[in-house]
Point group: D2
Chain length 338, copies 4
């Protein structure tokens, strides 16, 4: 931590800060510059808050040096984490594709979709049973009935299941049905839910909130790891910007950045990020090209009849095509699909 003084700070102002640093058990290194004096605070700065110094007289700025996350960082763990969803491995050489409808609507819809996406190349079936909707008047999901239909689809196809949980109370129930539990973008900073999920033995798919900074995203994952669950997959699904031609702005740049800073795998969700079915194909290719470990794609037998997210869902044949198109890109970056 570095403490920068205002130009007019007196000897006493500086001495006052030095004493406070030493009282806290840290060391102070003073550098007098041409215009300003700065102090380097030596010690584990995660144990002190910047406000303890920022509000002292004549202090202009306090600059943290250490990153506030630890367990998710590549400094802490060098090799890539591979998350095992039963035998499906996310974060290894293989690109993993998750696919399925936004919401589970009925048996025919989910079974036919499961069969189609399995044939197309997906390893994991997505489908929402509990849906966080903007409007109270919209379809809110089938709840446990939806979970039961997902289990049926798993039995028929062997696909693993990923589905969202919205509240701590539902964690045990959802964990009974799901192989991978999704934390939705709106709940990325629901710290209560994160703590509950940090105590269970299921892998977690943590989606980035629309307005999450890199730090907030990694700190949300740190909640999970610090509670004991290190089976965490991150997911980029678009941020909110001034741009209006996509539902959100798909921020693929975070993928190589996460790869540098963290050992956790990261996948991409072009369906929610762009909100337009005709952008899913090109942006899926781009996601793989810049290093994503997988994709999660909305697929629906008849998007125009979908209860939710029809605009961004693709049909069965488009999904098969998408996987075919991804393969040479995966090869080009030294990865494989299937």
């Amino acid at each position: 931590m570095i403490i920068v003084f205002q130009p007019l700070a007196s000897k006493q102002d500086i001495q006052h800060v030095v004493e406070k640093i030493e009282q806290l058990g840290f060391q102070a290194h003073i550098s007098k510059g041409v215009e300003r004096t700065i102090i380097g605070v030596i010690g584990d700065e995660r144990k002190i808050s910047r406000e303890q110094f920022a509000l002292l007289p004549k202090v202009e700025n306090v600059i943290p040096i250490l990153k506030p996350y630890k367990l998710v960082s590549r400094e802490f763990k060098k090799e890539n984490t591979v998350v095992n969803i039963e035998e499906v491995k996310v974060g290894g050489n293989e690109i993993i594709i998750m696919a399925g409808p936004c919401s589970v609507e009925n048996e025919k819809q989910i079974i036919s979709t499961a069969e189609a996406v399995k044939k197309g190349g997906a390893k994991i079936l997505r489908g929402g049973a509990y849906k966080p909707r903007t409007s109270p008047y919209s379809f809110q999901g089938l709840g446990e009935d939806g979970l039961k239909l997902l289990r049926k689809a798993k039995e028929k196809t062997g696909l693993k299941i990923v589905t969202e949980v919205m509240e701590s109370d539902d964690v045990d129930l959802v964990a009974d049905y799901a192989d991978l539990i999704q934390v939705g973008a709106r709940n990325m900073q629901n710290t209560r839910l994160l703590r509950t999920l940090s105590k269970i033995k299921k892998p977690i798919l943590l989606k980035r909130n629309f307005s999450a900074t890199l730090l907030e995203f990694l700190m949300a994952a740190e909640y999970l790891l610090s509670g004991g669950n290190d089976q965490v997959i991150l997911c980029e699904r678009g941020i909110r910007t001034f741009v209006e031609y996509t539902r959100n702005t798909f921020d693929l740049n975070i993928i190589p950045v996460i790869k540098q800073l963290s050992h956790l795998p990261i996948i991409a969700d072009p369906s929610h990020a762009t909100g337009k079915s005709d952008l899913v194909m090109p942006m899926s290719r781009a996601a793989i090209a810049c290093g994503a470990d997988g994709l999660i794609i909305e697929v629906h037998p008849r998007p125009e009849k979908a209860e939710s997210d029809g605009d961004q869902s693709i049909r069965f044949d488009s999904f098969s095509q998408l996987v075919k198109d991804i393969k040479p890109i995966a090869t080009a970056v030294g990865r494989s699909v299937n």
Copy 2:
């Protein structure tokens, strides 16, 4: 709802859409323009989704005409809603000021702050017992012990209490202690929590999420009203933009906009919005000048020792000054303080 066709749409394409509209029990009004044909769909469009038409062949765009919110709208209810927090009224002529520390830390801190802000002119004491923090390593609040200290402060001062609830499970407990229950920015779209709160008989302070559009903000309130709780106060607390000199961008513009579109009261939180104690004073004045029904201000006896949000907390004397400064502004816009 208006359906716009692509320039090359054929007679059959248009007929196909008309049939679908009529099957759903709506009427279709066709207008053939110079370049494009459009259809006006007559009927209550809230019952149909835009995707039902947007994905049909040769349809270029589907434009909703009606607003998706109803109960929160001024069209539904002309006169301003006044929320009664026991005898304190928010949304009437009087500007109501809520103040207190970010977190309840200990008895001395909360009691002394309660006494100071009451003397300064606050009617409601704020203080967090359950804190949603970015880092799992930060102070997470005192929990029920914090609630008990808030009750003690209420007994001493007569101030009403506003405090945050983070999960459905805690609603009954928090409602026991609080006079006004806060939904934090991170939980604005926690639809499960909103539904639980819509069933209780306590007023709600609903804070805008960092990245919430006007529509999302109003729809979150619609969850509360549609479930039966119409005692809702909105709160602007900053949005996430590219700007770096404030913690968030305090978007005061939403205040007069909400006043036009909705009958609900709206207050402003300059402490969280700006994140800097020396901006709290001028931006509080601005909030009142453009029509806010109240303020919520972070006050701490010694900000440099605060467990959280020290940077943006003001001291007792600054708070008294703030209320004094607000008064002539309130008068200038035909309102009163105290």
Copy 3:
């Protein structure tokens, strides 16, 4: 400037950087922390670029301490700059109001508007002769004919004239007619134009670009001051964010921030910032409440007939009302109008 090393930096890595610092004529203060070593560079860091160090082996980060602007800063000049537009003073105790149409359209329009806004309380007449329009098919302004009409309006009313210049070539011509020369938001970083304007003896109204950070805004002003023109008024006119209910997001927060960091006056443009005539009144009040030195308001005799910006222009009677409404706010903050 502070140089932060990666955890694994060797003695040689550090020595290499120290030598480079000393070669450049600066001094290096080394602090070895628990996890990282940092070096404080002593000397006027404006003379070195951060890349000179940021790209050296094992350097993790380079943090500037000094601000890159100088002449515009309050450290450089303590007392407020007052800009004299003939006898009208911007930045003193009086709130100055500029008003007029977006574009000069014809004699009747500009003269009648000039008379109305003068009566209403304006001291300066705005009106565009050269218009930067999004579409090549839109009205682009009357050019010099527009300037002549502005002069006529000045002769009739005594109002000073503010109008935009778009290119260096036009500076002499526009300076002939204008008392205050506007640099529009789109040209805020047109460094060629800024350099030309820095050499003339007319005050400049510098509008903030839609996406300008605080630093970029101040550095644009620094271009003017460093070239020799210190008669500069800043103007906040809205930034681009995800928000859709206002044309831009009026970022009033920058006003008190500028007041802290710079001695230059700053005014606010609620017309362009909000894009809606019914928000101009409340947001004008807010701007004065948080410290703006003036307002610039779009006024048109018949907004529904305006060649540009009709949506955000107010009528004569609304303008008079606006000035009346501003007065008690100005008084409340210790300022005056008129």
Copy 4:
């Protein structure tokens, strides 16, 4: 254009609007809905402004149907435009790579870079002679001397030259030296410059402004085409968002969107967009994967000594590697490099 009335609009209100529509030579189609009446305006709406109706009594909203751009649209011209820079073709099957330093600094730097990027696979040499810099104290480019060095580099290597022009006055001079003239992001809406460039016979590289919407970007190109210059290449180079880990947010999503809406070629600039040399490689791959027609890459012999943009420049060997990495991606999407 569709005019939506407020719920309480009377027969007269509607009749008043109908008359106005007919006076302008358009036809009105009225649809009375359950809550609101709407009017479809039949005729070429580009000839009327929405304000002409939006401000009339009881009008709630006016929704344009037609897009304001015409010449740049795919509706106007179906087949892709291929821009010929002498024999180098941008927008055809081949991916074109432009590379070179941010600024031309001296002969050795530009010649060695030209030779290296030519060997690596570039077809066009970039290099700034006129630099728009945030700070007046930064290096502003060598001016015409820089142009002369670019010509020398062209003579030595046969590479075509792309360089920026900042003002109308310089257009003839720059056109003398450049094969492709760049309009920088800060000048994207410098309509005076665009008009001048629309009259010359050189291809233009138009960079997207940091905060430009899709519409503004296409309308800037429309200025060029409407003035007579249809040799236009678009370039995505990052937008301003809340994100802090990249210099800007590289918005690759616009590439497939532009491909749908416009016939113009579009290339990507990962150097400026990300601002970090270690992101240039993965994001270049992503750009090609989602359909970019080319790349523009900052390359410098010794980035740590660069006068500008050292942080984002890559070395000669990295550039060669980048082109090698791009090739299989190009093949995967049916394109070629070289």
